[in-house]
Structure formats: C-alpha cells, structure tokens
C-alpha cells in the first residue's frame, strides 16, 4: 500500500493529536472517580491517581465495543467522507477546550468536547448535511440536562438513608467503614471510565487508518492502537488533573465519608445502568450531579451554588465552544499540508500558554485539599492571628 508523504504527515499528526486528547481526557476526568475519595481522605492523592490510572489502562483493554460507534451517530459517517484533517481539527478543538476548562478548574465533558470539535470540523469541511442534529439533541443536550438530576437524586436519597441508619453508631466507626466502601466505589467509576473513554480515541485512530486504506472498513482497533490509547489515558489520569479534583472535591460542598460513598455509589450505578440501557450519560456530569446531591442530602451541609452554576454553564458551552475551535482549525487544515502543520503549531502554542498560566497558581497532590477554589493567579497570602 502506497501513502504519499503529505498523507503520512497528516495521519501521523492525527495519531499524535488523538493520543494527546486521550491524555487530556485522562487528567481532566481523574476527578470524576477520585475527587471525593481524595477530599475525604479515603485515599491519599498519589495513591488515588495511581489506582485510577491502572484501572483506566485495564478498562481500555476490556472492551472495544464503543470504539466501533465513534461518534454515536452525531456525524453521518456513511454520507460524508471524513478525512484525517477533519478528525485532526476536531481533536484540536477538544484539546483546547479541555485545557481551558482544566486551567479554571471546571469539570466539563471530554466526550462532548470531542463531539463538538468533530461537528465543527465536519460542518466546515463537508457541510451541515454531515451532521445529524437530531442526535446532537438526544446524545448531548438531553443527557447534559438529565445526568446531574438522575445522579443527584440517587446520591441525595442514599445520603439520607445512610445517615438515618448509622445515626446510633459512633462517628469514628462510620468514618472508617465508609472510607473502605468509598475506595471500592471510586475504583468502579475509574474502571467504567477506562472502558468508555479510551475507546473513543481508539475509534478515531482506526477511522483515520481506514480512511487512508491501512485497515479494512469495519475492522476493530489494532492491538497497538488499544495499547497506545490505554497508556495515554492512564498516563493522563496518573498526572492528575488537580485543579478539577479540587473543584469537585472541595469547591462544590464539604464532603464526609458517608456522603463520598453515596456520591460514588450513585455515580457508578447511574453510569452502569444508563450505558447498559443504551442511554449513555456523561461521566463528568453524573459525578458532579451526585456530589451536589450528596451535599444536599446532609442536614446543614452547604452547596456552593456559584460553582455549580459555573459548571452548568461550562457544560452547555462545551459543545459549541469546542465546535468553534474545531471549525476554525478545519478551515485552516483543509487548505493543505501547510495549513495542517500551522494548526498543529498554533495548538501547541495555545497549550504552552495555558500550561504557563497554570504555573502562576500550581495545584498538585500536596496542596489539592488546602483551598476550595481554583484561581489562575496565586491568591494573596493572608496572615491569621494564630499563624502570626
């Protein structure tokens, strides 16, 4: 099989970009599984991200079913030819949006960002007929509204039940007991994340390889693709998106171990039930909703609604924002190999600027639980009388 140098460069860029997206997906979504465990002290921050990384890697090898559907019907793959440059541009849109939301510590759906980026790129590259807008409503908009409600209600009722049952036993026993339970439920969420999210990138790389004739149409992802995607998401997860972990673990509400257990149990149940019934919900929105629900379920606990509203706005904006970046990237990439390389250069520059900005107020395993909010600039040092 012959592949000209320009195609080879574009395919190489798509694979590297897809793996980069998988990496950002990993570190962006570590919080979903581990934020409450880290906040309650059920797991040490480093232990939590190592466990989540390993489970994401294992999850990537468990199933390749999601990889075969890729866009879930949002893109009319049978009617428009999706060139590698469309996929590349879509991934650039998703990566840029993931990095922006990570910088400000907002949990947003990486899958919605990927779909948004792809839709924007396809509209510019192949026209609006390439997008199934009905599926955008059923796969993106409705789940975004439903996920927090379902998981939030499940977590709210679970917390109420738990606190009623354990009210007669001492706090230390409750705390230690739910700490163990929370570890198991958090690991379930991490594993289910691995079985879903790594596969989307596998699907995109496979689609690219099919588009250039390296693989036959309808084939499953090659083992090296599965391994690379699994490693990328695991490495991203291990790196730990500490900014998003702080927002979910500390910013929304103060969580005790029974609340953390209820939130993780509600998240794991909602994700599993919905995906088994073919009604895929966003892991990020499910986990955020269950944390809010667990906060509301405990008498006297407060939910920081300003953070919740900012998160909801980010969820609604994710799809169109990633779509706009994807569209702009595609407009430049479709001009030729020079345009594609220019997009890659611009994307790297934006990523470096965002990483540079994040160094103004670094958040890591050592200080993730120290404060509740995520600011770009380091907060002014305050001296308390006790400290002075």
């Amino acid at each position: 099989m012959y592949m000209d140098i320009a195609t080879l460069v574009v395919v190489g860029l798509v694979i590297v970009t897809a793996l980069t997206f998988d990496f950002t997906n990993g570190f962006h979504d570590t919080a979903n599984a581990m934020a409450t465990s880290i906040a309650t002290g059920a797991l040490k921050p480093k232990t939590a991200v190592i466990a989540a990384g390993i489970l994401n890697l294992v999850g990537a090898f468990l199933s390749t079913e999601v990889a075969k559907t890729i866009s879930g019907g949002i893109i009319n793959e049978s009617q428009v030819a999706i060139g590698p440059e469309f996929i590349f541009a879509g991934l650039v849109g998703a990566i840029v949006w993931n990095l922006i939301t990570w910088l400000v510590g907002l949990p947003s759906s990486s899958s919605h960002a990927m779909f948004g980026g792809l839709v924007g790129a396809v509209i510019v590259g192949a026209g609006v007929e390439g997008v199934n807008f009905g599926m955008v409503i059923t796969k993106v908009l409705i789940p975004a509204l439903i996920s927090p409600i379902v998981a939030g209600l499940a977590a709210f009722l679970s917390v109420k039940l738990i606190l009623r049952i354990v009210r007669s036993i001492n706090e230390k026993t409750v705390d230690s007991g739910f700490r163990h339970g929370q570890t198991v439920t958090a690991c379930l969420v991490a594993l289910s994340h691995g079985t879903n999210d790594a596969q989307k990138t596998m699907g995109l790389i496979t689609l690219t390889l099919v588009a250039v004739g390296v693989q036959p149409s309808g084939s499953s992802p090659a083992l090296w693709v599965v391994a690379l995607c699994g490693l990328a998401i695991a490495l991203g997860t291990y790196t730990g998106g500490w900014r998003v972990i702080r927002t979910l673990g500390k910013g929304l509400t103060e969580i005790s171990t029974p609340q953390g257990f209820a939130a993780e149990a509600a998240s794991a149940t909602t994700i599993l039930v919905s995906s088994h019934l073919g009604f895929a919900l966003s892991t990020t929105q499910v986990c955020s909703g269950s944390i809010i629900g667990s906060g509301l379920g405990k008498k006297g606990a407060k939910v920081n609604w300003s953070v919740a509203v900012r998160m909801a706005v980010a969820w609604l904006v994710t799809f169109p924002a990633a779509g706009l970046v994807g569209a702009a990237a595609c407009a430049l990439a479709k001009t030729g190999i020079g345009g594609t390389i220019a997009v890659a250069g611009i994307a790297i520059a934006i990523a470096l600027i965002i990483v540079h900005l994040s160094h103004r107020n670094p958040i890591n395993a050592a200080n993730v639980n120290d404060q509740k909010d995520v600011k770009i600039n380091t907060p002014a040092a305050t001296t308390t009388p006790a400290a002075a």
Partner: protein
C-alpha cells in the same frame, strides 16, 4: 417518547440500586458495630451474621457491576 421512558428507567433503576447498596452497607456497618462482645462476654452472633450477609450482598452487587462492565462475560 422512547427517550422519556429511557430517562425514567435510568432514574428509577439508579435510585433503587444506589439506595439498596447504601442501605446494605450502612446496615452492615451498624450491625457490625453492635455485634462486639458485651461486658458479660456474650458475642452477638446473629447480629454479626446479619452484618456479614449485608457486606456479602454488597460484594455480589459489585461483582454484578463488573460483569456488566466487561462484555467478554456476556
């Protein structure tokens, strides 16, 4: 219409399953805490047995979740 039915199915199942796990685990802890040997040296065996049954039920639900998650098994 199908979407609405799916939504309510997910809602009811998620609430019921999460509630059941939470109840089982919380009851397991409560029974375990109440099953310690008392001042007269009596071990509350039935309370402990109840606690173990609750925890085993939780383990079964987790195993079922793993079974659902891994397509190889079904």
């Amino acid at each position: 219409m199908q979407e609405i039915i799916n939504f309510f199915t997910v809602l009811v199942t998620a609430v019921c399953v999460a509630g059941t796990i939470s109840c089982l685990y919380a009851n397991g802890l409560r029974l375990w805490a109440n099953s310690v040997v008392d001042a007269e040296g009596n071990a509350h065996l039935f309370t402990r047995l109840g606690s173990v049954i609750c925890f085993i039920s939780c383990v079964c639900i987790v195993l079922f979740a793993l079974w659902l998650m891994i397509p190889f098994f079904h």
